[in-house]
């Protein structure tokens, strides 16, 4: 056959087809004899070899998917925990200081308490409020004066 390799024959040669039979055997024989076809197959094979080599160069990095041999220890002194612990310690220290500076209110002696209680009892025992007492006293005094006048008039009559 006086022709060059077809596209499929090129592909068959490059894909590594079985060259022992029929068309593939002819293609292999032609590629060995024809300088032009042999050069083209060689260029393509070289490009494919370079592609494989470059791909292996890109992926030279080690795998990142691996379980650690030992589980990582978790630090207990993280920033939030330290802040919380500091605040708690400060509160513990401040409680006695605060109590020393702010003593609880004192309510006087027992005698003063007794006087106060008597005053309360006296207030409760009154029939009229304390604020009304002067008015009531005035009313009583005017009534007594009026009755005394009447009595003195009666005696004169």
């Amino acid at each position: 056959m006086n022709r060059h390799l077809s596209a499929d024959e090129f592909s068959a040669l490059l894909a590594g087809e079985d060259f022992s039979r029929g068309q593939s055997a002819w293609a292999a024989g032609h590629a060995a004899e024809c300088k032009e076809c042999r050069a083209e197959v060689a260029r393509m094979e070289s490009a494919l070899t370079d592609l494989r080599a470059a791909a292996q160069g890109v992926t030279a990095s080690p795998p990142r998917l691996s379980r650690p041999a030992k589980a990582p220890t978790r630090r207990w002194f993280t920033a939030p925990r330290l802040a919380l612990g500091g605040a708690f310690a400060a509160a513990i220290i401040m409680i006695p200081v605060y109590r020393a500076n702010h003593p609880p209110p004192t309510y006087g002696s027992e005698a003063a308490d007794a006087v106060l209680l008597q005053q309360v009892d006296a207030q409760l025992a009154r029939s009229i409020p304390g604020s009304m007492e002067p008015l009531v006293a005035l009313a009583w005094s005017s009534e007594e004066t009026h009755s005394r006048d009447e009595n003195s008039q009666g005696k004169q009559e």
Binding site: A7, M44, A47, D50, L51, A54, G57, P63, L65
Partner: protein, 212 residues
Amino acid sequence: MHSAITAETASPAGITQVASDVAHNIARNVERDSELGDFDGVVARYWPRIYRFALVSLRDKCAAENLAQDCFMRAWKGRHNFRGDSALSTWLMQIAVNLIRDHTRNRRLRFWRRTSQSSVEGSAVAELLVDNRSSPEMSASARQQLAHVWSVTASLPERQRTVFLLRFVEDLSLLEIAAATGLSEGTVKVHLFRALNTVRLRSGIGKREEKP
């Protein structure tokens, strides 16, 4: 596997054959279990291959890393479904091929793939090529040719690209590619031939489509 008892299997030669099959299956299962038992070893051994295939398929380092991790995660989860009918590498590659196909077909990610900062350009790949060519001119020419092949490969249809990369980057046989992709051997060959023809012509290596 249960074999039906027939006149052939009941004969001494048949019994020998059945015993041989059973022994073979047991040996295969033991080998499979021992291989998958050390999953860290499986990851260490097959990671470069899966990652490399993901990278040349997706051309994005971050996406390739994620996909490789996803691949081994799925393998771990589905390790009980691995029957050992094919090689472990082929099974892993099958998972990777499916993940890449899903990733490629996911339209929502297309925008991000275009704008990805970790994409691998042809020039970057060409720079990684360490060659022993005699002259700087030849080295430069080889790098330029590689960049062309890299960019043409990206433009191939999905199946052609997968088959092409499995054959020429991962060096799988046609049968292994058929097992990994779920295609028949004839279909694999058709896709491979078309991909080779496209790469040969568009990268400028092949000058004419058909030579008279």
